[in-house]
Symmetry: C3
Subunit: 161 residues, 3 copies
C-alpha cells in the first residue's frame, strides 16, 4: 500500500507527484536580482506573483474588482511559482525540509476583511507537501500596490534538510 | 540587593517577573500555519495582533478613528502576544537571548506621520527584557489593511541562547 | 593591470573605492532599537531611508508628487545608507560576503505601476559591489505610508563572509 500524501516519512517531491501538482515554469527576475539565495540551511526567495505561462493570471484590487475567491487562487498560483523556483534551484524538492515562513501581501481596499481566507490559498499549497507537523509561520498584509499590477505577492523562506 | 531589571546578568524571564508584566494567553493560528518556527538559533514568529482575552482590543485606522496613543497601546499588546508565544514554545523566556528583528505594520491614513511613536509601543516591551545592550533592529511600515481588521501587526524574529 | 570592478576576486570595499562611491554618514535610530544586529553569518539591518546630511532627500508619494526617477534616486540613497551602516558596524565592507535579501518599500498611489524601476535604484547600488554572481533576492511592495514621511524604505539582510 502506498504512503498517504501526509505520511511523515514521505518526502515533498514524492508528495507533489502523488498530489498530481504540476509546477509552472519558474519565473525569471524583472531586474538585477536573483530568484533564490541560500545561506546555511535557509533558502530565501524573491517575491513570487500569480504567473501562469509567463503572464499574470490576475491584476487589480481585492474588494474592488477581484473577489476573495480570485485572491485565494492568485495566492495559490504565487505559491506554486515559489515551489517551481525551489525545485529549479535544488534540482529536487526532496532536499527541502520545510517552509519556514510565508508572507502573503495582497492589494486591498481600505474595507477588505478577508485577508486570512486569501492567504490560506498559499498555505494550502505547502501544508500537504511538508505535512502539518512541519508547518510554516505566516504574516499577512494588505498593501497599496505590488509590482506590475499583481494583486498578490508571496514571500517565502525555506529550510533545506 | 536584588538585580535591577536592566542588569546585564539578569535573564529575560526574571526581568519579566520583576517588571510585573503579565503575558496574555498565547494566540492560536487563524489558518493552516503555526505560530512559532525554529531554525538553528533563529525563532520565527507569525504576525501577532493586539489581542486581549481572545479579542482584538482595537480595530480601525491610525489618523482616522484611532489616535497615536491607541496605536502605541495596540503595538504594546501585539508585542506581549509575541512574548506569550515564545514563552509557550520554549517553556521559559530565559532561553531567549534577544529579539533580533521587529517589524511593526500599522494601518494608517495617507497623511499619518506618527509611525515611529506607535512602533515604540512595541520596542518598549522588549528593551527592558533583553537590555539595551542587546537591542533589536526595526522596520516600520504603514499599510492599507491587516487581518481581521487589526490596526497593528507585529512581526518578530528572536535568537535562542 | 588592476582588477575590473566586477572581477570575482575583488572585494566589496575595494570595489566601492574603485567606483568612487562615497557613503553618507550612517543613520542613527529614531527610537529604542539598534541599526544592525548579527546572528551567526546573517547581518540584519533596520530599515534605511533616503537620508542625506541627516535630512530626508525626498518626501511624498510616487505617482502623485514624486516621479519614478525621483523614487529611483530615493531607493539609491536608502541603499547607500544601508551600506554606511554595514561599514560602520564591521569596520570594513570587505568582511561582507553579499547582500542576501533586499526589500524595497515605497509609498505609492493606487495606480502606480513602476515599482520595479524604482527598486532597481537600490539593486544597482549592490550589484557592482558584490558582483552579479552573488546576487540578492528581492521583494518589492507599494505601501500606504513610511516613517517621517519618507517615500522609500530599504530593508536588508547581508551575509558576513
Amino acid at each position: 500500500m502506498p504512503d498517504a500524501p501526509n505520511t511523515p516519512a514521505a518526502k515533498p517531491g514524492s508528495r507533489l507527484r502523488k498530489l498530481g501538482l504540476v509546477l509552472p515554469k519558474p519565473p525569471t527576475p524583472l531586474g538585477p536580482y536573483v530568484e533564490v539565495n541560500q545561506v546555511g540551511s535557509l533558502l530565501f526567495l524573491s517575491g513570487t506573483l500569480p504567473i501562469v505561462d509567463g503572464k499574470l493570471a490576475f491584476t487589480g484590487r481585492l474588494g474592488e474588482n477581484l473577489s476573495t475567491e480570485q485572491g485565494r487562487e492568485a495566492a495559490r498560483l504565487a505559491a506554486l511559482n515559489a515551489l517551481a523556483l525551489v525545485q529549479e534551484h535544488l534540482g529536487d524538492l526532496d532536499r527541502v525540509k520545510k517552509l519556514v515562513k510565508l508572507t502573503v501581501l495582497m492589494v486591498t481596499t481600505a474595507q477588505f476583511l478577508e485577508q486570512v481566507t486569501v492567504s490560506d490559498g498559499a498555505s494550502n499549497v505547502f501544508v500537504p507537501l511538508f505535512g502539518p507537523e512541519l508547518g510554516h509561520v505566516r504574516v499577512v498584509v494588505g498593501v497599496q500596490s505590488l509590482p506590475v499590477g499583481a494583486p498578490v505577492l508571496v514571500e517565502t523562506i525555506f529550510e533545506v534538510g
